[in-house]
Point group: C2
């Protein structure tokens, strides 16, 4: 039924509302810079009323990754839940306009589409406030087993562990993948997300995950150490491949037998780091689907991350295939 797909992403479907601010304003709002917190619709509206002018762009962690895969020329699909409202239509337009398969039925009761208010400080760091909305309504019934089993890889975001039904869908998708010949990849998503779900993540990593993405803080939190080398030593072999992103220090790729260091690409000015990890994963996964070496996969990851942090918003604004050539 489905043509062969390179990567299927499954995640919370969100539209980002990005606003420039400063460190003092982030602190005054009681937020922890650099992290993601979940907020109610009322709190989201209250926060929106307190922030400066904003820009609206499609986001969602795994959706950003999948947009990256597509921008490299990969055959990509996405599973996630929006409502049938303006934001939902924006999300659907932006992802299908890139040629990405997106057949998840819109949620038609009560919820509005999910959104994420992203506060960007002058150093380019982002602080995220997510109202899950309709993305909360993703269930096992939304999983297209044929689509998942047609793919080389599925990519799951740790954020999916926050909505209870989505967590069930997460496990079901991993089982569907393993029942076929589809490899399972996971991102730990966020420091606080690790805090909320550490034990579940650990079971999953050792039993279901072929490849794990994390930044250094997330990996340290997952392995309960403040030493990156110790975290890497503990994690080595838990997944076949572990990619640890380190911001301006690039990334480290870990396999049971290898440690590969990848340099970050030069960036004239870091404008907004929203999506940096997502796009690193997008480039890396595209490389894997093309049978490239892990070093080259890492390079594609850093090319994609460098593009995304040089402008506002977490979706590529230029062809990553052209940039990587």
């Amino acid at each position: 039924m489905n043509e062969k797909i390179d990567v299927v992403g499954i995640g919370n479907a969100l539209v980002d509302v990005l606003a420039q601010t400063d460190d003092a304003a982030v602190a005054a709002l009681g937020l922890t810079k650099g992290t993601m917190q979940l907020v109610s619709q009322a709190d989201m509206q209250k926060l929106y009323a307190q922030i400066g002018p904003a820009v609206e762009m499609s986001g969602g962690s795994a959706a950003n990754t999948i947009a990256g895969v597509a921008s490299f020329g990969g055959r990509a699909a996405y599973i996630g839940k929006v409502a049938d409202d303006v934001l939902g239509k924006v999300f659907r337009h932006d992802i299908t306009a890139q040629g990405i398969t997106f057949n998840t039925a819109p949620h038609t009761v009560e919820h509005t589409s999910g959104c994420c208010i992203v506060l960007v400080t002058p150093d380019g760091e982002r602080t995220m406030n997510t109202y899950l909305g309709a993305s909360n309504a993703l269930t096992v019934a939304d999983l297209d087993e044929k689509l998942i089993q047609s793919a080389q890889y599925i990519y799951l975001e740790g954020y999916l562990f926050d909505p209870p039904e989505a967590k069930k869908a997460f496990y079901a998708a991993a089982e569907m993948a393993r029942a076929g010949d589809t490899k399972v990849t996971l991102t730990l998503s966020d420091l606080f997300c690790v805090g909320r779900h550490r034990d579940d993540f650990q079971k999953l990593i050792t039993t279901h995950v072929d490849m794990l993405f994390a930044n250094e803080q997330e990996l340290c939190a997952q392995y309960q150490t403040d030493n990156l080398d110790a975290a890497i030593a503990a994690a080595r072999g838990h997944a076949d491949i572990l990619a640890v992103t380190r911001s301006e220090k690039g990334a480290v790729i870990i396999t049971p037998t290898e440690t590969i260091t990848v340099s970050a690409q030069p960036v004239a000015r870091v404008v907004d780091t929203t999506g940096a990890g997502d796009l690193f994963a997008g480039g890396f996964l595209y490389g894997l689907t093309q049978g490239m070496s892990l070093a080259e996969c890492g390079r594609l990851g850093t090319v994609a991350a460098a593009e995304i942090i040089s402008h506002t918003g977490a979706r590529p604004q230029t062809s990553l295939a052209r940039l990587a050539a």
Copy 2:
């Protein structure tokens, strides 16, 4: 009732939907690159389905100008019509979040808020497709006479001549201003807009307008010549001050007795010229309200224009007051 205002802008209230594209795609869509065309809601939706991923940001010509005035630190107000929908709330948030007075009641019947699909080509040029929606519903009843007469300047966009009721409001606002001590400024807005309204513009310029903004193509079209010097010679004295913007050549300021040339500010890379003329006007008007020389007003205009063309979207992303210091 109202505190003293520097500039009140009146215009079509729109949210921009900005998408990267290329010259071939613009031509294939049958559009004239660099201009604005009005489209029906059905055509807007059809066009949206044909374009790539987009970014949503508040826009509207005079609203962009007013956002510029506020970013320089000016006391600004705006009159324009949105619906009480998601896009309308985005527009209202973004303008009030800058401290701009915006009290126009939302339109509550039938219409959705207006939007403009902006196609941006690799040279940074923009091609605009405007669905007026609720902005079409601006009438004389929406004019706050006290607000207008409390201001030093009102700023009117030529685009307002497209919706028939707005055109009446346009004249009424100019009359209110002249009945008070408020100076009237106008932008010709667009080459095709001049084509549609040349005679009306000409009457207005000679009878009601203290200051006129135009780019060189618009001025030549208004004075039906392909020679800029001839257009300037014909226009000199029709308004007390004429500011002609010339893209990378900067601007020329014309009074009955003076011709002042202003250089463009250097820009590392022109990303998107949407709003360049709007922001030039914003900087220039702010300078006028502060009693600055025309040369300094022009410099502030070019500072604001340079900021806006260095990123996607027509609203400032950094403090223009700080940039100009």
